[in-house]
């Protein structure tokens, strides 16, 4: 047995190394887990994108399961994601709020008029201060918030139909029940 051990130990170490490296292949270092998941959503008060005289705050989210989608017109992936959001809004399964991040009000309103508006309301975060409180580092990002205002999930990068069907909607349904 001791004779085989001499060969088995390096083989086992090699196998372990392969397992770690293989796992590493499917990990994306760009996806940093958010410390906000499981915590109350950061408080904020901003003007509405469509009306600078009306404010929107975290209090508007309470009492229902919501999505908060961080987007901007300068964000290429957001353009790709937009159609998916419009489709999700049509299903009526969840209210989608938007955080328009470091954008230009006119451009953003024109974008929504042209491409369709999936949002219940948009908060206009022109200097990105609220974005920092939410730990935003790359639009698009989408948060799922429960009735009590606790962040339950964060998706970084554009939403796709698959992600919505496999991750977002099942969690929304669970939080609603």
């Amino acid at each position: 047995m001791a004779r085989y051990l001499r060969y088995l130990v390096p083989l086992a170490i090699f196998a372990l190394l392969v397992a770690f490296l293989y796992r590493g292949l499917s990990l994306d270092p760009k996806l940093v887990p958010s410390p906000l998941v499981g915590k109350a959503m950061p408080t904020f008060t901003l003007t509405r994108l469509d009306n600078p005289d009306v404010t929107i705050s975290d209090a508007d989210f309470k009492g229902k399961v919501t999505l908060l989608n961080v987007w901007a017109t300068w964000c290429v992936s957001c353009r790709r994601e937009h159609e998916t959001l419009v489709q999700l809004a049509k299903t009526g399964q969840v209210d989608i709020y938007g955080l328009n991040y470091k954008d230009n009000r006119e451009d953003a309103n024109r974008w929504l008029a042209k491409l369709g508006n999936p949002y219940v309301a948009n908060a206009f975060d022109s200097d990105g201060r609220v974005g920092i409180d939410w730990g935003v580092y790359g639009a698009p990002e989408t948060f799922i918030i429960d009735r009590e205002g606790i962040i339950r999930h964060k998706h970084i990068g554009p939403l796709t139909i698959e992600i919505i069907n496999d991750e977002i909607l099942p969690l929304v349904a669970k939080l609603k029940s």
Binding site: P29, K30, V32, P33, S34, P35, L36, K102, D127, G128, R129, I132, D133, W134, G135, Y137, G138
Partner: protein, 164 residues
């Protein structure tokens, strides 16, 4: 070949190694500080924090839009008298431990912090065992006759060596 000639290709490498590191902060913002010490302190703090957009750059080095915003945020906080720890906590609460170049010691990082020492201990144990085993190897026993022959051969050899 002159051994000095062998070193010539290494000169550029030596120059790189010996060159002082480039100044870290090439910031575009015009932050103002009352003293040089405070400016250095600011640079030290942002030099410890990772930019989440260009992940291999510090907040001090990065030219990403987010890095500009976070530098401004850190600047404002330090100006208003917040401690280093408060600034760091502010960022960790929003972006996670990932913003720290120096990971904190906690259960999920035990492997990084203590793993090398565990490996070192295992290596030391194996070494001690290997050395111990080598010591146990006894000197081969030889008979009186063999010893006599050995001495004769060695003696001969030594004699030849002296003559030659």
């Amino acid at each position: 070949m002159n051994p000095m000639k062998l070193l010539i290709p290494l000169i550029p490498l030596l120059l790189v190694v010996a060159a002082p590191p480039l100044p870290a902060a090439v910031t575009l913002e015009s932050f103002t500080f009352p003293t040089r010490a405070e400016e250095q302190h600011f640079k030290d703090v942002i030099g410890q924090l990772r930019c989440l957009v260009c992940q291999n750059e510090t907040l001090a080095d990065s030219d990403a839009d987010l890095a500009h915003d976070l530098r401004a945020e850190v600047y404002e906080m330090m100006k208003s008298g917040k401690s280093d720890q408060e600034v760091i906590d502010f960022l960790v609460n929003r972006y996670g431990d990932f913003v720290l170049y120096n990971p904190p010691v906690k259960p999920s990082t035990y492997l990084i912090w203590y793993g090398p020492f565990v490996l070192l201990a295992i290596a030391a144990l194996l070494l001690i065992r290997a050395v111990g085993r080598q010591r146990q190897v006894r000197e081969p026993e030889i008979s009186a006759e063999e010893r006599k022959r050995l001495e004769r051969l060695l003696g001969d050899d030594a004699g030849k060596g002296k003559q030659g």
